[in-house]
């Protein structure tokens, strides 16, 4: 029995080490943002405090943080809206149509989703310059959609494939049009899949640095990751403010995750995440 307790203790010690390993940098980020900036460089204590909101105040006063936040939100929600609409329609039509070369369409989606972001960023920048939307939020929404759309089609294709066609055919026998059957019967059943796609698209767009970095130079159009990165040069590395900004970027993702972790883990397990 002693042996049994030893194994159990050892197990929980390993779990403890794992949790500290996973969480410590995040803990340190939050603690550093909330620490009095006057003592942040000489306080070595692992414990939080002395507490202060000074770093947050300086961050919001001296930088365009709030407009970066708004830009990030517009780009992320715009990308989510476009991706959900298009990927639902494409995935549905691919599963319900019978034609040769169908698997080629699905396969190229997977292939497109393997393109290195930088390989897409360079030509996209060149196209946006030509069209005249370079350095705008719209250019970022389109760029993010190039990554999230193949992902969404791939994931929803798996969803529609599993769904029996009898349900919608029954609705159509009862007098629904194809579109009516789609909206009233198919869409509600696919909701979990759509939520998963929405979460990953939001995550992808909210955390993107590469496209924002290549496409955006005007300070007013910057998104959070790009804006935060430019602060590094501007304020001679004032770590309190940078950690406060980092916390504010991470917070919406943590909140989202704590409510929707079920969908998140489902998508991850389906091997459907870019990163």
């Amino acid at each position: 029995m002693v042996n049994h307790y030893l194994v159990k203790t050892l197990y929980w010690i390993l779990i403890g080490v794992m949790v500290i390993y996973s969480v410590f940098p995040i803990y340190w980020m939050i603690v550093s943002g909330l620490r009095d900036p006057n003592v942040i460089y000489n306080t070595v204590s692992i414990m939080p405090g002395p507490w202060s909101l000074k770093s947050y105040e300086t961050l919001l006063d001296l930088t365009d943080f709030s407009s970066w936040f708004k830009n990030s939100m517009i780009v992320a929600l715009g990308t989510v809206a476009i991706t959900i609409t298009l990927s639902t329609l494409i995935a549905y039509s691919v599963t319900r149509l019978q034609f040769r070369g169908k698997m080629v369409v699905v396969g190229t989606m997977l292939y497109a989703y393997m393109f290195p972001p930088l390989l897409l960023a360079i030509p996209l920048a060149s196209i946006f310059v030509k069209v005249g939307i370079y350095d705008t939020l719209l250019s970022l929404i389109i760029s993010h959609t190039t990554i999230s759309l193949p992902l969404g089609v791939w994931l929803l294709w798996g969803f529609f494939k599993q769904m029996p066609q009898d349900v919608e055919e029954a609705a159509m026998v009862d007098g629904c049009s194809r579109l009516g059957a789609f909206i009233r019967v198919v869409l509600p059943l696919t909701l979990p899949g759509i939520v998963t796609v929405a979460i990953f698209t939001f995550l992808l767009s909210w955390t993107d640095y590469i496209f924002g970095f290549v496409m955006i130079s005007n300070d007013a159009n910057k998104t959070l990751p790009v804006g935060l990165e430019t602060m590094v040069g501007l304020y001679e590395l004032r770590w309190g403010e940078l950690m406060a900004g980092s916390t504010l970027i991470a917070l919406p993702l943590f909140i989202m995750f704590s409510f929707l972790s079920r969908y998140f883990i489902r998508g991850l397990a389906a091997g459907s995440v870019k990163g």
Partner: protein, 287 residues
């Protein structure tokens, strides 16, 4: 059938949009690599394979390729080893385990910029917490990202920290689908813990591990932002891999054609890997 015309319409619209959004840029990337232009707005000049020839003659290109292979292979192997171990550790039905699983995913949610800034703060030469810790253990100064070798180790360690949860969750899902009877049978046959892992767990996890290996390889080989934000490819080009080289050529040295050529070559290398991979490990037809 009724309404089939609508569905064809939707399909065609979808394909057109996808083509414009994804395949035209990809085509344009290849087109750019055959052109010489000083910036994105200057007039292009068709130069054939000149960019490819010049790039392949650059020693920087081959050095960057080798560095990229070192970076991606070390981080992939460590991610998979650690991710699989953590999944086995977390594959228990115990009170509180859901919370522990949730906490272990958090690094994966963070934007790369946030990860890099947090690590740069923790590793800051004189005031970072890790530097303080190192001092407490008697090391006077540690050049985390200032020395070529330790810069590479640092970017590998950070990328392992961020992307291991992906492997953990994928393996955890795989572990939970292994029927308990298989372990029972092995136990009755007298197999110890190690043998059960070797002869039951690993073969059952094989499909999951193969997909994870493929996806991680693709993404780590292309990974740009973590290295760029941490070291800008330095010190002395020690962490400059193909994506960083492509970026520097296109946007810092104003040679868009060569930058696009490097990206295209790197994509071809990856495609070659994928083809070889599927030759050795064909995906199941039902998947």
């Amino acid at each position: 059938m009724r309404g089939d015309r609508a569905i064809y319409g939707i399909f065609i619209i979808g394909i057109v949009i996808t083509t414009i959004l994804i395949f035209y840029p990809a085509y344009h990337a290849v087109e750019l690599s055959f052109q010489s232009r000083k910036s994105l707005i200057s007039a292009p000049e068709w130069v054939g394979f000149a960019n490819y020839r010049l790039v392949l003659q650059m020693p920087e290109f081959w050095e960057a390729l080798v560095r990229g292979l070192i970076f991606s292979s070390f981080s992939i192997v460590l991610q998979i080893a650690l991710g699989l171990s953590l999944a086995i550790l977390l594959d228990r039905k115990l009170p509180g385990i859901a919370l522990v699983r949730g906490l272990s995913v958090l690094p994966y949610l963070l934007p790369t910029v946030v990860v890099v800034l947090t690590f740069r703060w923790m590793l800051d030469g004189s005031t970072g917490i890790f530097s303080h810790l190192a001092q407490a253990f008697g090391y006077s100064h540690i050049a985390w990202a200032d020395d070529p070798t330790s810069a590479m180790i640092t970017v590998v360690v950070i990328s392992v920290w961020v992307w291991t949860p992906f492997v953990t969750l994928a393996c955890l899902a795989g572990l939970q689908s292994i029927p308990e009877e298989l372990y029972e049978a092995a136990r009755i046959d007298g197999a110890g813990a190690w043998n059960r892992f070797l002869h039951v767990t690993l073969p059952q996890l094989r499909p999951v591990l193969l997909v994870v290996l493929l996806l991680r390889t693709i993404w780590m080989f292309n990974k740009f932002d973590i290295i760029w934000l941490m070291t800008r490819g330095g010190p002395q080009h020690a962490t400059e891999h193909l994506p960083v080289l492509a970026y520097r050529l296109a946007f810092e040295l104003y040679d868009v054609g060569k930058g696009a050529a490097v990206s295209t070559i790197s994509f071809l290398i990856l495609s070659g890997f994928i083809v070889v991979y599927f030759r050795f490990f064909p995906l199941d037809q039902k998947e």
